[in-house]
Amino acid sequence: MRTQRIHWMTLSILVVVSLLLAACAAPAAPTAAPVATEAPAAATEAPVVTEAPAPTTGSLILLDWASYEAPDYWTTFAKAYPDVKVDFSFMSESADSYAKLKSGFKADTVHPCSNFWKIMADENMLAPLDTSKMKNWKDVSPSLAAQGAFGGKQYWAPYEWGFEGILVRKDLVQKVPESWADLWDPQYKGHVAFYDSGETAHIVAARVLGFDPWKTTPEQDEQIKQKLLELMPNVLTIWSSQTELEQMIASGDVWVAASAWNATYINMINQGLDVVYLNPKEGRMGYLCGFAIPATSTNYDLALAMIDSYLDPTSQAKFANDMGYGISNNAALPMVKIPAAAVEGLGMDNAEIISKTMFYQYLTPEQRQAWTDVWSEVKTSK
């Protein structure tokens, strides 16, 4: 009996101590490291050097999307720094990379899309890029680069852009859909795949209802929720990984894949499937993604060299040819030779399609919370 009491006492002391420790430790976590301002200052004061000033040994951790790790996409870095160890940690979506950095994950580059660019710059999570040291910066599309500059500093190097559209198995549907609104058509019941993102769900429903997705009123939000609830009977599954989606399209389980990316279209036609990438009435959705260096990185120069290497024209052209994404380096464009069917199918060179495309924009934390909550409720309603 006595030993038992001692055990309970020990246990409760442990709990109390751990709570105290946690209370002390926790506040430190979310504040941004002060390194942010130091690194770039040192970098800009340094005289302009043409040869790479980065150390030739060391290691880099890239927080990046899966399939971007192929050495084909950073050949010049591998050649210039053969002794640097390069490791990849994968992010499943932009929010994920933000959450990982917030929780103290130390990465040397990070690669979310532009809807997360402002918040990360605002919260001092990044070290500005010293573009004078980047050989390929001069060829980067100025309009894309402009989206990555905040407060007069260039935080982001745009890398790729792409569409989010509707991919359809032409051989399986009676009638090919023409708009986002057709996702609600009962003839596709049980064969629609929808992307697992409250942000995307909100934007899709808002556009179908004719609202400006980023300026919805509370009444409109309620209508959006009802609209999404009405979509659920048509939805077979909510997808979150590209591989999983492609497997379900190929198996014939999914006929209509919403928010499919360019690479999925390329992979499906490479498999010989009869698919079409819609140009919906409301216009497609689009995104722009790129690299930045987290303020906590202790390998600033190497990270900068790595980003520069990703921007290399030959590497970027190779990337575009493999994936069918749009790229940021204008000097690489002449080398892009994706199959004609793919260019045409995706409309990568079609100015009209691009002008009708709605690109993801910055959303406030309140919007992020509200949209996620609505989606959580909708997707668990069935």
């Binding site: 709570l19 389980d253 919370q369």
Partner: protein, 283 residues
């Protein structure tokens, strides 16, 4: 003195490990649950708003109940399936025991994802089963069978957990002194009576261990629902993931995780009291 030294050297390392990697994070989560957010102004002020909004959000409660239902179903059925399996291995398999035991464990050596994908190959629209039904003329149009539903989540989880539930039952059955069964037979017990009055009560600790082995982790499952749950299979774990990874609302995610922890403790409490299993098992 010697005893205490042994106690510390045995309990110390795992205790320290659990303290650092279990109790500490739990404490961090507890602290986070009273915060306003992870970024922005005043994100670290003390607030009870997260608890309040959890208590008023009925769809969280519904999903928690639903998930508890799923994990109860999974652990009950897994236990029912695992028991005869373990029984056969201990009392009937004889020299084949090691081989059969290995066969039971082997599937867990392959990647979980790979196993799920191969399920989809069998059950999907172009899958083996559909092709068979089509060629036999039993169906005219193919459609996914069983997958993409809450039922699929339950079936998959049972498949995953049966071997793990079988192991503690196996261990418990193996410990039973065979002479007890002989004595029962000598005293005129029919085989089923011997089973009901000797084997089953003595194997109860294994049953209880196996049952909770499956119950506790499945309540927080979020990977299986993502893969086979389709549009109706989401579980409570998926909502926690949404708060942490998508809404970036760690405080709310923490409240939801703590609520789940309480739910598990509650379930364990109820179930151990139910029919005083522990008395039967003799501990």
């Amino acid at each position: 003195m010697e005893n205490r030294g042994r106690f510390i050297s045995l309990i110390g390392p795992p205790g320290l490990y659990l303290f650092l990697f279990f109790l500490m994070p739990l404490g961090v989560m507890f602290v986070y649950s009273f915060r306003a957010g992870i970024s922005g102004v005043a994100h670290d002020t003390f607030t009870l708003a997260n608890y309040q909004s959890f208590l008023t959000n009925t769809h969280f409660h519904r999903l928690l109940r639903q998930s508890a239902g799923v994990s109860l179903a999974v652990s009950t059925i897994s236990t029912l399936l695992a028991y005869p399996l373990a029984y056969y291995l201990v009392f009937r398999a004889g020299s084949k025991r090691v081989t059969l035991m290995t066969l039971l464990i082997i599937p867990t050596w392959t990647s979980y994802l790979l196993r799920i994908f191969s399920w989809k190959l069998i059950l999907g629209s172009n899958g083996v089963l559909n092709s068979l039904l089509l060629s036999l003329g039993l169906v005219e149009k193919t459609s996914p069978i069983l997958i993409y539903s809450r039922g699929a989540v339950i079936v998959t989880l049972i498949y995953v957990w049966v071997p793990f539930v079988a192991l503690p039952i196996f261990a418990a059955l193996e410990r039973i002194d065979k002479s007890l069964l002989e004595a029962a037979a000598d005293l005129g017990c029919k085989p089923w009576e011997a089973f009901a009055r000797v084997t089953l009560p003595l194997s109860l600790p294994g049953i209880v261990a196996g049952f909770f082995f499956a119950l506790i982790p499945t309540l927080g499952e979020f990977v299986t629902p993502l893969l086979v749950g389709g549009a109706s299979g989401s579980m409570y774990g998926n909502l926690i993931q949404d708060q942490f990874m998508r809404a970036l609302n760690w405080p709310m995610g923490s409240v939801m995780s703590l609520a789940m922890l309480l739910a598990v403790l509650f379930l364990v409490f109820i179930l151990t009291r139910l029919g005083s299993l522990t008395d039967l098992a003799g501990f």
